[in-house]
């Protein structure tokens, strides 16, 4: 039997910092054969990206330290240890024998060179060809990755094409020297579901055509279940389980794998509480015990929501696309084009759609963060579009927004206590600083954090904790209406489950009305009573959450739901 294409043997990687070395990988062993797709699954901090970057030696050293192990790459019957290869040898492997595609197609291409130029460059780095020949090959590759109008895209800059097209350019670049191993680091995470489906098909097809080995890194179990031959589950820098895909998905042995499989919101109905990793891993319970919240949430009764708290009429948000010489707009990009809907007191509305469909713009228009071009937004009897400063001052307290990225939505120079207390101060809610402080501490406890956290800075918290801080800040004013803009999209599945549980608990306790904006239909189905599906600035379909999810009437909704990777096991 020939040796595997790539063997990672007992690899340990650490990072040196001001307080010694922290280990990112402990004793990892993975084998990849030609023609095999090995998926590495895990959450942020599990070490999956460190593993993939180690193979091509793309981690800056220092701070990275390879403390032990080997990475053996076999090509044409000769085996090299990539960890010991010289810079020239490793350069010969990079992009030539082993190629890599990354998570963010938006930032992974150099913005100042054309797509064609960047692919041609990859070809010329390893092959001695005349420039025209390289150009022809690049165009061939563009055709192979099914880019429309290869000639046109060749001369386009990355910002001029869509995310899916950029990822195709990246794949063309990776395939340029027919590598024997392709490493895909979360290649579809930043893309819409429908685009994701096409890219996955393309990767699978290229793998079969070229008999490549593929290492596919993802946090999305649905994606992995659909394409992987072998699955490696990583947790905190260790491999906790690996085996054939069917084996791992059907008979998960390790509790963490079980937890990952269990906490996907798609599997649950609204009244069910999502399980979290803690429920499966007993040792995780050493963390400070959260206040007992075991009380089962009562099924959300189908309230007869009669009173519309918010009604949106013919809302339009247009941006000028082209202007003539005197700055007069000639045509518009219609981000939101004539949409109308109502939100009833006490319900949660899910707003779904792909990127660019106008869901976030709608949310921002309601929160008053941008000025609509036309239409009305009536909240509690006041038209927000024409409302003056005084009305807004009153209404701001009632409408709060929770943003997507908990890393950038907290001011890094402010302690979390100050951040949460700030809106209270603005609205003169408590007489003294001490009272505000007391209230904020109670609020921190409400979102399962500790009062001691008051004086800490945002960077001291994990992603999930930060999102809870942002929720606490939004809730500080006891708003009647909350807009969650992709509030759980940046979080790992297990953390996402915690935050969704928290939102459900708080909603039950405080009884606010919410708009939940997301691209993830299964999350939206889980959390909302009604769903509005948006596409290209318009509403495609609205209705009961279950009806839309299980019995979509509209063709676009059907397409969206069909594109969600189903669990085949």
């Amino acid at each position: 039997m020939p040796p595997p294409l790539l063997t990672i043997q007992n690899l340990s990687v650490g990072f040196t910092g001001s307080n010694g070395t922290t280990n990112a990988l402990h004793d990892i062993t993975i084998e990849v054969n030609r023609g095999e797709l090995v998926a590495i699954v895990g959450e942020s901090g599990s070490g999956k990206s460190v593993t993939s970057l180690s193979i091509l030696q793309l981690l800056p050293t220092p701070p990275a330290v390879y403390s032990s192990g080997k990475i053996l790459f076999t090509d044409n019957d000769s085996t090299t240890d990539l960890l010991k290869a010289s810079p020239a040898e490793i350069r010969e492997v990079r992009g030539n024998k082993i190629a890599m595609i990354f998570q963010e197609p938006m930032t992974s291409l150099n913005p100042v060179y054309t797509c064609g130029n960047q692919v041609t460059e990859a070809i010329l780095a390893h092959k001695n060809l005349p420039a025209e020949e390289a150009r022809q090959q690049a165009l061939e590759l563009f055709k192979k990755v099914q880019l429309p109008y290869p000639e046109l895209i060749y001369n386009k800059y990355p910002h001029e094409i869509s995310g899916g097209q950029k990822q195709r350019v990246m794949i063309a670049m990776a395939m340029s020297c027919q590598p024997s191993l392709l490493i895909c680091d979360e290649p579809t995470t930043a893309l819409d579901v429908t685009v994701q489906q096409n890219i996955l098909e393309l990767i699978k097809q290229l793998q079969l055509e070229n008999n490549m080995g593929v290492i596919f890194i993802s946090h999305d179990l649905g994606v992995i279940a659909n394409i992987a031959d072998k699955v490696v589950v990583m947790y905190k820098g260790r491999i906790v389980e690996q085996g054939m895909a069917g084996q791992v998905f059907k008979h998960a042995a390790h509790p963490y794998t079980k937890a990952l499989l269990a906490c996907r919101p798609a599997l649950y109905d609204k009244h069910e509480r999502l399980p979290v990793v803690k429920d499966f891993l007993p040792e995780e319970n050493t963390a400070p015990a959260t206040p007992a919240k075991a009380a089962e949430i009562k099924p959300v009764v189908h309230h007869t929501f009669r009173q519309p708290l918010l009604s949106v009429h013919n809302l339009r948000v247009w941006y000028p696309a082209e202007k003539n010489f005197f700055g007069k707009p000639l045509s518009y990009i219609k981000a939101v084009d004539d949409i109308s809907f109502e939100v009833y007191s006490g319900e949660t509305i899910g707003l779904v759609g792909e990127s660019g469909c106008g869901k976030t713009t709608t949310g921002r228009a309601i929160a008053g963060l941008l000025q609509p071009t036309g239409g009305n937004i009536v909240f509690d009897g006041e038209d927000l579009v024409t409302a003056g400063k005084a009305v807004w001052k009153k209404i701001r307290k009632d409408i709060q927004i929770i943003f997507q990225d908990p890393y950038s939505s907290l001011n890094p120079r402010k302690t979390v206590g100050e951040a949460i207390a700030e809106p209270l101060k603005v609205h003169n809610l408590y007489a003294s600083a001490a009272q505000r402080r007391e209230y904020v501490m109670a609020l921190l406890q409400k979102v399962s954090l500790l009062p001691e956290h008051y004086k800490r800075y945002p960077h001291e918290f994990s992603g999930g904790q930060r999102q809870r801080l942002v929720i606490a800040r939004a809730l500080a004013l006891q708003p009647r209406f909350i807009i969650c803009d992709e509030s759980v999209s940046a979080l790992d599945v297990s953390v996402q489950a915690q935050v969704l549980n928290l939102l459900n608990d708080l909603k039950k306790e405080l009884g606010f009305t919410a708009i939940f904006i997301s691209h993830d239909l299964s999350v939206v189905k889980y959390i909302s009573n009604r769903i509005i599906v948006m596409n290209k600035g318009r509403i495609e379909e609205q209705g009961n959450a279950e009806d839309i999810y299980y019995r979509p009437a509209n063709a676009y909704t059907q397409k969206l739901i069909a594109a969600i990777p189903a669990m085949p096991y």
């Binding site: 291409l109 913005p111 100042v112 990246m170």
Partner: protein, 348 residues
């Protein structure tokens, strides 16, 4: 792109119009220039004559229109006017001619010379000095910044930062004196340089002569601060860019570090550097008063300071207008450069 440039030029014209109004208000709008022209003495008749000559007997708004007519490159002039003001350009028509001309900046109160001539005489000196200084600054500053960023935390990095902090904090009049004294006097025997001198020197035997070696010391002195600032900006922009995903992509392609740094990283890091380079260029064009003064370099800066000393307002006004023109032009240049370097930049 063409539309963008035309638009920018129109904006530039507006800026210049604003400057003309300001200049007029400051130097002619208030006070009595006649006193400046003739000094303490002079009888009533002379004063009246000068008033008439400078059109000071007319109301202020008419004076402004006349001034505008003089500086505007497109205007109408009578035959006598063209002759007396020695206007240069294309004139069409009979007695009153339509003119496309070089702006007429009037005459110096002191020397009676045409202000345009005075400025044009000084302009080459300033242009050459400024270009040389910026050339030095860019040629050394950018590679030094790149080096510091690539070898972050190394001795290269720390010493280039140290040197640039020194360069930023040293005032040019101080550096200028030190340079002139050291290289133009103490070791003059080896360097062959003089403490002062201009681009052209008048030699009693050979007449006007180009003296390029006189450029070295003032250009170095003038270049030090922009050099230091360009180094720091390049360094911080490069550090930022080297962390980007597309740099990792470039490494994953198997490119050499050299190619990645100079082709992929530097071009992305250039935007703040362009801002600094063009900003400094305009500023230096406007007159490096101290340096020109110390080295006795004939340039706009020196001419302006001399004119101010003698309250020779037409010269000062002309130099202010010229400076404004420089700024408008250089800003236009910067806007065009941004778009050349970064295809994402779209006209606002």
């Amino acid at each position: 792109m063409v539309q963008f440039i035309i638009k920018r030029m129109l904006y530039g014209l507006l800026v210049l119009a604003g400057v003309i109004v300001l200049v007029f208000l400051l130097f002619i709008g208030f006070g009595d220039p006649v006193r400046l022209v003739i000094g303490q003495t002079g009888d009533k008749a002379t004063i009246e004559n000068i008033r008439k000559e400078l059109a000071l007997d007319k109301p202020k708004w008419q004076q402004f229109l006349l001034y505008l007519k003089d500086v505007s490159p497109v205007s109408f002039h009578s035959k006598e006017e063209i002759a007396s003001k020695q206007l240069k350009g294309i004139f069409i028509g009979g007695d009153t001619k339509f003119a496309i001309k070089l702006p007429y900046l009037r005459r110096s109160y002191q020397t009676k010379k045409n202000v345009s001539e005075v400025l044009m005489e000084a302009l080459p000196g300033t242009l050459v000095l400024t270009s040389a200084a910026m050339f030095i600054a860019v040629l050394i500053g950018i590679p030094l910044g790149v080096l510091a960023a690539v070898k972050q935390h190394s001795i290269w990095d720390t010493s280039s930062i140290f040197a640039s902090v020194l360069g930023i904090s040293a005032p040019s009049f101080f550096v200028g004196i030190i340079m002139a004294y050291l290289f133009g006097f103490v070791v003059s025997g080896y360097t062959g340089l003089h403490m002062t001198g201009s681009l052209y020197e008048v030699d009693p035997f050979n007449g006007r002569q180009l003296q390029l070696q006189n450029l070295i010391l003032p250009a170095l002195t003038l270049g030090i601060r922009p050099l230091a600032i360009i180094t720091q900006l390049t360094r911080s922009a490069m550090l930022d860019v080297l962390d980007q995903d597309y740099i990792r992509t470039a490494y994953a392609k198997g490119l050499t570090a050299k190619r990645i740094i100079w082709k992929h990283a530097l071009r992305n890091a250039l935007n703040p550097v362009i801002t600094a380079v063009t900003g400094w260029f305009a500023e230096l064009l406007a007159g490096a008063f101290f340096v020109e003064y110390i080295f006795g370099w004939k340039g706009i800066g020196k001419v302006t300071v001399d004119a101010l000393e003698k309250l020779d307002f037409p010269v000062v006004m002309g130099s202010v207008l010229l400076t404004a023109l420089f700024f408008v032009f250089v800003n236009l240049l910067a806007d065009v450069l941004y778009r050349v370097v970064d295809p994402r930049v779209k006209p606002a």
